[in-house]
């Protein structure tokens, strides 16, 4: 299957420091790759660099046939990449409906606020509530809905379980599982291994700015010793 995302020898960081030190990663069309690793390994930096929110020092980021390394975030977004950021970052003063409309202005591929409401009825109930009046789980759903309205080919999910109660994480997991049929490829950065294993086809482990392991989720789970060596768990 053709790769939606193909990253080669990506180097990036902040103010001269190097966080990503030659990352290679591919994501097949419709596939979900969980990017795992300890804190500070560079997972979120990778997501921000792919999104164009951080300019790389060098390397290649291809979305299909299009080179996006160094492109501005709005260009990357228009090319078909959407992000669900860590901490949700919904527009607090705007209502749920406004949060969705602000994304759907430039939406495409059949995603409309109504379709998001069908997928997430809870948001429909709260469409007139401001972003800061929502629970953490509702905000996460709103952030996912907002990303979907971009009609993405690639979805970047940065710690979607961050700060959520286990029961709410389960709801978010169900929602993301329901999206599998949409054929949207995804990179899932996640500390919650249960959630990562539940959603991902493949696992990539990052250490010190590099991908040091890549396997299917089933293979990764089968080898507890390796998981423990790579992540300190298992």
């Amino acid at each position: 299957m053709a790769d939606v995302l193909s990253v080669r020898d990506l180097r990036a960081g902040y103010a001269g420091s190097t966080v990503l030190d030659g990352v290679d990663l591919t994501v097949p069309a419709g596939g979900v790759v969980a990017l795992l690793g300890r804190n500070g390994a560079g997972k979120s930096t990778f997501v921000h660099t792919v999104m164009g929110m951080l300019k790389p020092y060098s390397g290649s980021i291809r979305l299909g046939d299009r080179e996006l390394a160094g492109a501005a975030a709005h260009t990357v977004a228009r090319a078909g990449v959407a992000i669900v950021p860590q901490g949700r970052r919904v527009f607090a003063p705007l209502t749920v409906a406004e949060n969705l409309r602000i994304a759907s202005t430039r939406g495409r591929d059949g995603w409309t606020p109504e379709r998001v409401y069908e997928l997430m009825p809870r948001l429909a109930e709260r469409r007139d509530n401001r972003g800061d009046q929502l629970s953490g789980g509702e905000q996460q759903m709103l952030a996912i809905g907002r990303a979907l309205l971009r009609g993405p080919r690639l979805l970047l999910l940065d710690e979607p379980s961050d700060g959520l109660a286990p029961a709410v994480v389960d709801q978010v997991a169900e929602l993301l599982e329901g999206l599998r049929g949409e054929g949207i490829a995804a990179v899932l950065v996640e500390q919650d291994l249960h959630l990562a294993f539940r959603l991902a086809d493949e696992v990539a482990v990052m250490q010190k700015g590099r991908i040091v392991h890549r396997s299917s989720t089933a293979d990764f789970r089968a080898d507890r010793a390796r998981a423990h060596a790579l992540l300190g768990v298992g």
Partner: protein
């Protein structure tokens, strides 16, 4: 989580109660020349024109998150242009307002592209520099009267009839001010207004949604320039005179003060703030030994402590002002 701030002063949906209140305010405003004498009417006319300038400052400061000290420059561009049109071309009030609006728009378009690249204190200083530069030009350029300004503008006319009575000039200024207010309110509630609020609250997120924040900011900067220019034309419709003092730092600072007192982002609150500021500066000051600026300073301090969301947010608690803290609009991986 980027926590929510109060935002209670945000422009919100119309409710029947609000519409009734707006209708009552409108009725009172229309009745002013009928019940008050010429002097209060001219004072109210100045307040309305100044409120249009303040509206432009609120559009930038409250809606787009760009606190500015430069709008007096575009107000002045509109005022000077209207007087020049009145002196040399026509006394038609509509033509003068249109000319003032275009002058403000062009001046903002010419200077804004640089200014909107900056945010926060840098933007504030850039707009201050623009304002002071334009003030300096007006103060020294003999073609526009230098420090003496331009006087002798004939009374404005509508459909060929000169508006000699202060009440008629008031009604004209009121009509334009309402039209400008309605236009700005429509923009704020439009998808573009939503974009501006999104850029204000989280610029990085808007980029990730495919928007170009600099373009959105440039658009609102030009629009605010046009509004300020129209305000300048209204100002001279009554005064029939313009001088560098009409576009100096004091005017810019009072306009920003009006926004703070009124409640940034609400549109109507800053208009109320504009009336209060001019009332203290031009009318009460004489009766308190010329200590108007001191009173304004005390009002400012009182509002900051007692009504952090301004007059428009009074009665909604003392929550934090719509914050624009450090790092606003920036995201960084944790």
């Amino acid at each position: 989580m980027e926590r929510a701030e109060a935002g209670a002063t945000e422009v919100t949906r119309s409710s029947p109660r609000r519409l009734v209140l707006a209708g009552a305010v409108l009725a009172v405003l229309v009745a002013v020349p009928v019940v008050l004498g010429a002097y209060p009417v001219t004072t109210m006319t100045r307040m309305l024109a100044f409120a249009v300038l303040v509206l432009s400052v609120d559009l930038l400061t409250g809606v787009a998150g760009l606190p500015t000290l430069g709008q007096a420059a575009y107000f002045g561009a509109g005022a000077y242009t209207a007087v020049l049109v009145g002196l040399h071309l026509t006394s038609d009030a509509m033509a003068q307002v249109a000319a003032g609006l275009v002058a403000g728009l062009v001046a903002a378009a010419a200077t804004g592209w640089v200014a909107v690249r900056a945010r926060g204190i840098v933007f504030l200083m850039l707009t201050l520099a623009i304002g002071e530069s334009v003030h300096q030009v007006a103060d020294t350029w003999s073609a526009v009267g230098g420090s003496n300004g331009l006087a002798g503008m004939p009374p404005i006319s509508l459909f060929g009839s000169p508006l000699l009575a202060s009440g008629f000039v008031y009604w004209w200024v009121l009509a334009v001010a309402i039209a400008v207010f309605a236009g700005v309110a429509l923009v704020v509630r439009s998808p573009y207004g939503r974009t501006l609020r999104g850029v204000r609250d989280n610029e990085a997120r808007m980029r990730a949604l495919g928007y170009r924040p600099a373009l959105a900011r440039y658009g609102v900067f030009c629009l605010a320039g046009a509004v300020a220019g129209a305000g300048g034309a209204l100002w001279v419709a009554q005064a029939r005179f313009v001088s560098p003092g009409d576009l100096g730092f004091e005017v810019a600072a009072l306009a920003l003060l009006s926004v703070v007192i009124g409640g940034a982002g609400s549109l109507w609150g800053p208009c109320l703030g504009a009336a209060l500021v001019l009332l203290v500066r031009d009318n009460l000051s004489a009766s308190i030994g010329g200590h108007g600026p001191l009173v304004l300073g005390l009002v400012f301090v009182a509002v900051v402590f007692l009504m952090p969301r301004g007059l428009a947010g009074a009665g909604r608690g003392k929550g934090p002002r719509r914050g624009r803290g450090k790092g606003r609009g920036k995201e960084r991986p944790s």
